[in-house]
Symmetry: C2
Subunit: 213 residues, 2 copies
């Protein structure tokens, strides 16, 4: 059984890459950057997006693609901002694939967009395996998850071009060694930029925006 | 492509069920209960297991199967307790399957075991789909993940026979409405028992153990 699964899985990834190549062409033609945000359920991805939207110049040139297993809660949370937002519901699927993104891009007026942010399904495993045609994957990790997640889910931290450590306002209340977590990340991806942010206290958000835009 | 994937996926689940039926026969014959703990990365599953091991009578009659994408960190954390523990590394796989459990059970002396606890891969999506032959799935959700995870990942909360809400010691520092989260859970699974625990402060652990044993 396992050999057949591996073959089929290769087919899925190969079909995915055909769509991601189409997306890359569109983004290049339109001069748009697209970031694929990946983190655990509850790591603070949507709250982080809200902080970015509150602090960024020209949010009207940004659009957000929300991926979730069920509900349009996250897109609804973001709809109060002056941006284009689309919700992709995977109905049980544990990750987004490039075909989802390609379809969703059809809904947007890409001529006036400079930046697309994808919030992937909350999951540290499967989303890391799929190239969505993005400029970069960004890993999100909250301090409440413990220090060792980069070691336990290394693929994401190898694939990502930046790591955002969220909820640093909670550090005084946790037995958590931030330096230890940063060392684990650097052991996997030495030069990766690491942003320490608190959406609640609006800390570190501007530095992150400077890197993104 | 999608039709073929669905077919293959059905094959995987069907093969899984053949193994899970074998496991159920073994557990029945040996009069062993087996719980399958499922929660996000960093939701506090291993710390919860440590609390259970510190508080349970006759821990030597308990064994733990640890599932992880990489590393044997969790099994090493638990090896200081007087229990049998085994680490299953999925090497990129996002969930455990019944065949993994069946193989792991061969390592144990099941004649002296009364209780098996499986810590699944940290993931709210895929592990909920696989019957491991367990007596019950138990969902673990930390208060730092926000209230809406039951709505966004409903399958787990439909399949589970209990929910453990962890890290309640952090409630004073969070904008988190515990009743709202409980209502979301009850909307999916009205009569499910919900345990509110703090491993750090050893709260709610004894009530949980009374339900498990």
């Amino acid at each position: 059984m396992s050999n057949r699964n591996i073959k089929i899985y290769k087919n899925i990834l190969s079909a995915n890459d055909q769509w991601s190549n189409k997306i890359k062409s569109i983004l290049k033609e339109k001069n748009i950057r697209m970031y694929n945000i990946i983190g655990s359920p509850g790591s603070g991805k949507t709250t982080l997006l809200e902080s970015i939207l509150k602090n960024i110049n020209s949010p009207e040139r940004l659009c957000v693609l929300e991926g979730d297993v069920e509900t349009a809660n996250d897109a609804e949370r973001l709809s109060k901002y002056d941006i284009q937002v689309s919700q992709m519901i995977t109905s049980g699927g544990c990750h987004l694939e490039a075909q989802h993104i390609f379809t969703a891009l059809n809904d947007f007026d890409l001529n006036n967009i400079k930046l697309i942010i994808i919030e992937n399904v909350g999951n540290l495993v499967c989303p890391a395996e799929f190239d969505l045609g993005e400029t970069a994957k960004i890993a999100v990790l909250s301090v409440t998850e413990g220090e060792d997640k980069p070691v336990k889910y290394p693929m994401l931290f190898r694939e990502a071009k930046a790591v955002i450590i969220t909820k640093v306002d909670l550090l005084p209340y946790l037995d958590y060694d931030l330096d230890k977590c940063i060392n684990y990340i650097k052991n996997i991806n030495y030069n990766i930029p690491i942003f320490k942010v608190s959406s609640k206290e609006n800390k570190g958000i501007k530095e992150l925006i400077d890197w993104i835009i």
